[in-house]
Symmetry: C2
Subunit: 646 residues, 2 copies
């Protein structure tokens, strides 16, 4: 947006002023359905409805702007940043359109693919920028169709920079942002929410401030739903602009663009591109400290906080849009100091939701992918429908091909050398593997002094909830019960519980104890004997890589292991142990031994052969203790098994 | 069956021997679905599968034969008997076909309508008898199509009695039961389970015992699934017959027909019709006591018990079929003494299920019809699909017309005079009505000394569960909170709890406290003020006869108020407070004031005007306390309301 150039004359008058109220569109049809408990209205509302609701309720909000990365590694980092900054509760993020970076392509770094990832895998409401200058109608329609297909619902309609100095209008071409707004409304009716850019100081190329306001009004009347402004340095600038907009009849939300100054050079570059003038009082402070990045950033944070406070205190501003420059620290600090960064965002469900429209009703998943939610979303992206309250409704769901799981952002975030330090440069036997698992659980460094912060089955460090089971997990991993997933039993804790809570407040959450692990056939043989004693209480699924499957689950029905009871709602049961999808997970879980671990070592090396041996001979076991009000018996099951072996 | 005559020659050889394994039928397709938690396998299996499962598990079972009643009153009584005897857990009942009684008609006393009621409203697996003699192919096909449409799944294929003495075979007609068996298999493939009759002593008209066995074999090979025998007086008779059947290759289940002697005259009549000979040792006992009905019945019970014991002890018999003659006492006593009457039948769900195939997956209902389940089934009989795990899936379900609710077996079972004694010959004001409600709750006689055992909104005496709330209910009814439905909160009681338990053992059941009542607008005004204090805890719906509706339910979503957690299953939530269907219930609940109560009195009489006033001015209120783990706050809400009024 920083580079946005705007039109200097009005090509056509707006023929359509009802952009926000078209009926029969896919969006509004869907939202009238009443087929799901709607735990979280955010999942069902369009962005413009969310804004309106926040404005009505007086909840202040923020949003974050990012640009697409240049390299695949940078993309992996950016997506981690989405997850971290998403935790603070932005109303939306937006991703800029870089014409030079093949923005509509399938490349992992393209604007559209980054926006797709934000929506589908990070669950973030996302606006994709799109420029129209120097592009054919067909190209633009193609980009929009692709965006819709990927589940994107919001477009920031921009002109984009003319390529040369001597730019001239094309007859019947897309010369101005307003042309793109009209095109979107003509071709896609009310499907997209449309955002346009506003210039609090007037666009530098505009004839006048007033002419610029008139152009903005045209864009809004052509069907734009809200406005995000160019950055500015004084709150008065924005407040005057907002009043001027209102005076000429612009009534849609206008969101101020906030740029926390993060460094001397980035400020200079920005100013040059945007043709903005930095006020003298700011220059006076910055010049003397221009080589002290930390000092400039601190000043930038101070400045942004005080300007944001003025804006919010004016009563005219409900949300703030941050130009992050893909950086985390300054923006996060401003938001925390303003008190609008959510320290403990309420989880609507125990797992990370996706923001794709067709997944709005998704409210149940198998527990197996709990630590690999992006892999689950990826492998189910072709599903037309999502199990809706009852897993079994979706008969034999076909999971996406396993070969896809090494999709770039599902790959381990750590480079090979780091993984070798964590998981062992050289393995001497199965016990070396036991030790890796144990170190991951305990957080203690391994014998070479390195902490094990991730495992092939867990992208991230242990969940807080797992800490409740730490002591027992450590004990069993040491002895070759290699745990990859677990949850304690919960008998009606408040839904606001900081560790196990989820869903709206006033509810109660429940869990059945769950334990999933790899282990040797010797242990499985003893375990099966022990399980006879627990036949009516513990459900189990035991499978090896060849698919030999031992279970006592009745009729292959799913077992609900996490559920919640809320005021005025139906029961939500977001996590199940589903016997059918367990077999798809089994393929993934066994393959991770080879793909992520064994392949770190030379072919035919002893280390690789140890992992290969485990892959070929171990079993994957899951256990559920159905008696959730009693003390978890699964540790007793494991203890009994070890005792039988001794 | 008693009158069944059988064929005396073999008209055609069986062309089909795979009657039991035809593929692609509606039944087998449905049963392979995995779309519901299947709490109760009985709801999903065909009768022949249930028999096989009981045989495999060694659970002994029984079944009951009834004949259609002659009058509407007798039909109402018979249906009450179905409910009472159904509670003992018969595997099925069967209803005989009375050609003289227009058995396939829509009359409330016809064989097909009685069987329909047993299946749909009493939830009983039912076999409909059908005879073929002297009927056209089209008539028979019509009856079978109607039976299928009504949800009947089992046919007892019989010849029926020839009309005259000089009966002759019709060419290409239905001369024998085997013709009907073949016709059913030809026209309906494997849809129906087919039962045929067996004669342990040989049919009286058969050339020989051996010839009769051959005819039986033909019926089985034509597609019959099992055999029920004519009555007999000695266990040896049956056991010999069974061995002889097996010797000629009849391998399907053969169920002995048991006739407990209940009186001298019924025995004589039966013997005459069936042309059976009563053994001398029985005659010797009966003749001297022939005028003492009780003594004969006692003897009949003794005789039946000892014969049944011999049959069961033989190891060859897994189920017993009882000719009840539409009487209750003797059969029930035999079953209780044999130990196969279920004293505490496990409820698969908290409400009475229907046995119609399309309702097999029904596992959620609105709480409003809890005391009028037959009305609910009737008003939803046209639904194609049943809310399956989530009420909201079925958008705006259309309930059947209210005018239908006076369907004969939904009418009050008590005659007008009795209702007047219970509800008051003359009402003197609203307080008289309060007193009726109070007496119904307390079980105390009213001021004229009559107990109030039913109310327009409750066909039956109070549920045991309601006793838990008795004291509070009495207090509030006295003061004009006229309760018609309530349940206590339950926080995880075992599913085997004798009062509130339901579903398979090993589970836990939960409830939110619920209270539904009529009350005056004065009380509603105070109540609404009080409810403000409970806004986040209590959901309410308050509506008058004109449909003025006050609620705090979010987005008209259903609120689950009964749910269960079971080993290896998904969550079951069988009862919801559904705002949409509440408006259908409201019409019914208000209309019952007029239809069942006001109309007992003369038009324009003061009593009638009092009820009319209540109908026109009172509100119907329901309250849910969402905080099920805490003490029920609804009584406090009501107390606060009264306090505010004082």
């Amino acid at each position: 947006m920083v580079n946005e150039t705007q039109h200097t004359c009005s090509a056509s008058s707006s023929s359509k002023s009802d952009g926000g109220s078209s009926s029969g569109s896919e969006g509004s049809k869907d939202s009238s359905r009443c087929s799901t408990p709607v735990l979280d209205a955010d999942r069902h509302e369009r962005l413009r409805e969310k804004m309106r609701r926040r404005q009505d309720s007086g909840d202040k909000w923020f949003s974050l702007e990012f640009f697409p990365p240049r390299t695949a590694n940078a993309a992996v980092n950016l997506i981690s940043r989405f997850d971290r900054m998403g935790a603070g509760g932005p109303l939306f993020i937006d991703v800029t359109w870089h014409p030079a970076g093949d923005p509509g392509s399938d490349k992992e770094t393209s604007s559209i693919i980054i926006a797709n990832t934000a929506v589908n895998y990070c669950g973030l409401e996302t606006i994709l920028h799109m420029t129209c200058c120097n592009q054919t109608k067909d190209d633009i329609t193609g980009h929009l169709q692709k965006a819709k297909r990927l589940g994107l619902k919001n477009i920031m309609a921009l002109r984009g920079d003319p390529v040369g100095e001597e730019w001239e209008e094309e007859v019947d071409g897309f010369n101005y942002a307003v042309d793109l707004v009209k095109h979107i409304r003509n071709e896609f009716d009310d499907y997209f929410d449309i955002c346009v850019a506003g210039y609090p100081k007037g666009h530098p190329e505009a004839e006048s401030y007033e002419a610029d306001l008139r152009h903005l009004k045209e864009k809004v009347f052509a069907g734009a739903d809200f406005i995000i402004t160019q950055l500015f340095f004084r709150s008065e600038t924005f407040l005057k602009f907002m009043k001027d907009c209102q005076a000429i009849g612009i009534t849609c939300p206008i969101i101020p663009g906030i740029f926390p100054i993060q460094g001397y050079h980035s400020l200079r570059q920005l100013v040059k591109l945007s043709k903005l003038e930095v006020p003298q009082e700011i220059k006076d402070v910055i010049e003397p400290i221009k080589d002290n990045d930390a000092a400039i950033r601190n000043y930038g944070v101070e400045l942004a906080v005080s300007m944001c406070r003025e804006l919010l205190d004016s009563g005219m501003v409900h949300g703030l849009h941050f130009y992050t420059l893909n950086r985390e620290v300054a923006t996060t600090e401003v938001l925390k100091r303003l008190g609008i960064w959510k320290e403990d965002p309420r989880r609507p469900l125990p797992w990370a939701v996706s923001a794709h429209p067709k997944r709005r009703v998704e409210d149940v998943r198998p527990i197996f992918w709990a630590s690999r939610p992006k892999s689950y979303i990826y492998r189910t992206q072709e599903w037309d429908d999502f199990p809706n309250g009852r897993w079994g409704n979706s008969s034999s769901p076909a999971f996406g091909e396993l070969k896809d799981y090494y999709l770039f952002y599902l790959k381990s975030k750590s480079p090979r050398e780091e993984l070798l330090k964590m998981w062992g440069e050289e393995l001497t036997g199965e016990e070396s593997v036991f030790e890796v698992f144990t170190c991951y659980i305990t957080g203690e460094p391994n014998k070479n002094g390195h902490k094990v912060t991730c495992m092939p089955w867990n992208d991230d460090p242990l969940a807080t909830e797992t800490n409740l089971l730490k002591e027992q997990l450590e004990k069993v991993n040491r002895r070759g019960i290699l745990t990859i997933n677990s949850q304690p039993n919960i008998n009606g804790k408040p839904s606001t519980d900081p560790i196990v809570g989820w869903g709206p407040s006033g509810g109660y959450v429940f869990q059945k104890a769950y334990l999933e692990f790899f282990t040797s056939s010797e242990i499985v043989t003893a375990l099966l004997k022990v399980l006879k004693k627990y036949e009516l209480r513990v459900n189990y699924h035991i499978v090896n890589v060849k698919g030999q499957n031992i279970t006592n689950a009745p009729d292959l029905q799913p077992n609900a292991v996490t559920w919640g009871i809320f005021p005025g709602r139906e029961i939500i049961q977001p996590t199940v142990v589903d016997p059918v999808s367990f077999l798809s997970w089994k393929d993934e879980a066994f393959a991770l031994w080879i793909e992520q671990w064994a392949k770190l070592y030379e072919e035919e090396s002893p280390s690789r052969m140890i992992i290969q041996y485990i892959h070929d001979n171990y079993y994957l076991v899951n256990l559920v203790d159905n008696d959730f009000p009693l003390e978890n018996c699964l540790w007793q099951v494991v203890d009994d098994t070890f005792e039988l072996l001794n």
